[in-house]
């Protein structure tokens, strides 16, 4: 839901890392997004096109690696993938759960020249 501001942050971070490395332009930005991070890749791509205009990332591609959400029930100890947005444990139906992965929002790497 907050893709505009996240994409803006991503751009700032990517450009500052590329400049630090003495790059002229950014060709590709590799992002890791957990599927329960609240971020929708399509929306980020949409904002990305607008935000990169006139910057060193103008022609860059935004590449996503999606991490599926994995939860663990503290009571049953089983690890599972949630059913959509429902986090209830398939074993006991409880919500005593820890998210092991799926909340990520990382800039992983850049391709530059």
């Amino acid at each position: 839901m907050h893709e505009l501001s996240m994409t803006g942050r991503l751009m700032q971070l990517a450009i500052s890392k590329a400049q630090e490395a003495g790059a002229r332009r950014i060709l590709c930005i590799h992002v890791v997004v957990g599927d329960s991070s609240g971020l929708v890749a399509d929306y980020m791509s949409f904002y990305f096109e607008h935000l990169t205009k006139g910057t060193m990332a103008e022609e860059a591609r935004l590449s996503f690696r999606t991490i599926p959400t994995k939860l663990q029930c503290r009571d049953c100890r089983i690890e599972y993938r949630p059913n959509g947005d429902r986090w209830e444990c398939p074993g006991c139906g409880g919500l005593s759960v820890v998210r092991l992965q799926g909340g990520e929002a990382l800039l992983e790497s850049l391709e530059v020249e």
Binding site: H2, M6, W87, L95, V97, L106, S109, E113
Partner: protein, 230 residues
Amino acid sequence: MRRIGVQEEILSENDRLAARNRQLLEKKGVFTINLMASPGAGKTSLIARSIERLKGELRLAVIEGDIASFIDADRLASMGVPAVQINTGGACHLEAQAVAQALSRLSLEGIDLLFIENVGNLVCPTSFDLGESSKVMVSSVSEGDDKPQKYPAMFQAVDVVILNKSDLLGICPFDRDPFLRSVRQLNLGVKIFELSCLTAAGIDAWIDWLREGVDEMVAIRRPPESGGCS
């Protein structure tokens, strides 16, 4: 073409600014609440009730995050506390940078307790640390008892859950016990207050919790005096 490995959180800059806010607020001894909820759950009413109870005893201030209007800030400022408005211009959450700017407009030395009222939303505000001392979420009886199932990440992110509009229990369809059980399952260390901002029932425990928070913040600010050796 060459590849640069980064492996950095997209929100790392926000987190850095939030850490700076936190350091400043601790140095000035300001106990700061980041108040989150869906629209209409009672964030502003809770702040208004808290001001009513604590005005004269503690020095209070409010930072109001709103998408466009000044209605809430005006309401709280009319109660005689400093209120700074952040209009997010459509953004669905507050960020540390906007809070830093708002803090620069307040005399922090003269504040014991600061409420930051986040934008009404149960998803986005969870991702953005503001530098608060404590994250508090308001859920209300009229919203239904399935909020923990629908927004587990929010219920896991907070220190306190307030169940507001307790006067509507028995009127609105709301299964209290399963709601409380789900909240406790999601968040083992959570503190829960059931209250009604309308009738003020249950408000005392919340007010006491705020007082304790302020006392602890004062203790952080003033380290214990050294024991006799000079």
